[in-house]
Symmetry: C2
Subunit: 219 residues, 2 copies
Amino acid sequence: MRYPAKETAARHERILQEASRLFRERGIGGVSLPEIMKAAQLTHGPFYNHFESKEALIAESLKCAMDSKLEAWRTRAGKSGLREFLDEYLSREHCDNPGDACVAPVLAGEIARNPGAKRPFTKYIKDSLFAIKDSLSAMSEQLAPEGDRKDEARAEAIRLWVGMVGAVVLARAVDDKALSDEILTRTHTDLLRGTGRGPSSGQTSPAKRRSGKRRPIAA
Amino acid sequence: MRYPAKETAARHERILQEASRLFRERGIGGVSLPEIMKAAQLTHGPFYNHFESKEALIAESLKCAMDSKLEAWRTRAGKSGLREFLDEYLSREHCDNPGDACVAPVLAGEIARNPGAKRPFTKYIKDSLFAIKDSLSAMSEQLAPEGDRKDEARAEAIRLWVGMVGAVVLARAVDDKALSDEILTRTHTDLLRGTGRGPSSGQTSPAKRRSGKRRPIAA
DNA sequence: GTTAAAACATGATGATCATCATGTTTGCAA
DNA sequence: TTGCAAACATGATGATCATCATGTTTTAAC
């Protein structure tokens, strides 16, 4: 590289980040290369100095976004519990700012039709499953009897992913703020209530199970 | 209309159906008007004799698809239970054939960015909620004590929607058939296990609740 | 039958897209 | 210092898109 390597790498990074932000905001098919390059403060020219094709950019930028989210979750995994995690994931802020949100609820539909993006996405899901599973089995170590504790943790991790993604997908697509909020808060309650269920059924307090009250959605 | 009204109406219907099928198969932004017209065995010309704009077609065709699904569900609502419904919704067949599948998992992401499509989609969700809620409260009429039975049924309906959509979205986007199947079957187990929970906890048989086995995914 | 307007087909239009072509700037290696 | 290749900018290219323009077919109404 004859241009300063540092700045070139920084621009490369900027393209990746702007691309993943725009993809999440407007859909993969809804963003053009000139637009991405402009957002990265460049002209459309040097795009092919940085990437092989648009397909390559899509795969790389999504991978980048997912890696970043995964790392953020892992970093705070020890410091806070599932409740705080759900507070954030099911918050209105997360819902209203897809640009730097989790890739899954916004783009899963398009990723399903994009062969190049499916593999990194699958890895993302699997790694997240492991992360959740680990923190869950650590959490319920003393509670679960033993035996299929691992299988239960995996089931719980999948249940969480499914609930989180489904809730945000629906909450975003719905045109009624009250219903949108309701989806988020009820799912929050529901996912939290179910935690630790399984072999030792009925983990949460009866008071909580009985209560129809919904928690506030603030992150 | 100087062309035979019957045939014109049939063509109109064909455009709507082909459009909604293609939208679900390849995404709203992934299908062009000429393509849709060709699928409906017409040239691109008379499109604007049938619709005001592409936006109008999107809204109308999605509404059509959702109405049809909703009617199908209502028709069979009495004849079969929640289990059969989930058997089908969480089946591999439903997962692998988005062309005539439920609109929510495929298009919710795009609908969230399409103001014209949000309103009919919201109605779809609400109507489905009512349908599920009604069948649920009928189901648990004798079991639930009373009081917030209605609220519980609504919570349950939202829980079902969230789980169904999240599961199909993830199962479609994942590149690993084993994981995809696992997401579907675990969600099936989970959604069914939870049914009737709430005031009268533990609806399903203990044997089922305890069992870690997953049901086959066949519809 | 004649007419007329809706529904058709063919074929612009201008915009936008991904990609490529070509010239220019840059600063590290020689 | 000089050269040179990578990274820039500007500007084609051909394809495709939504929409419109124009002429043709059709049949219901008169």
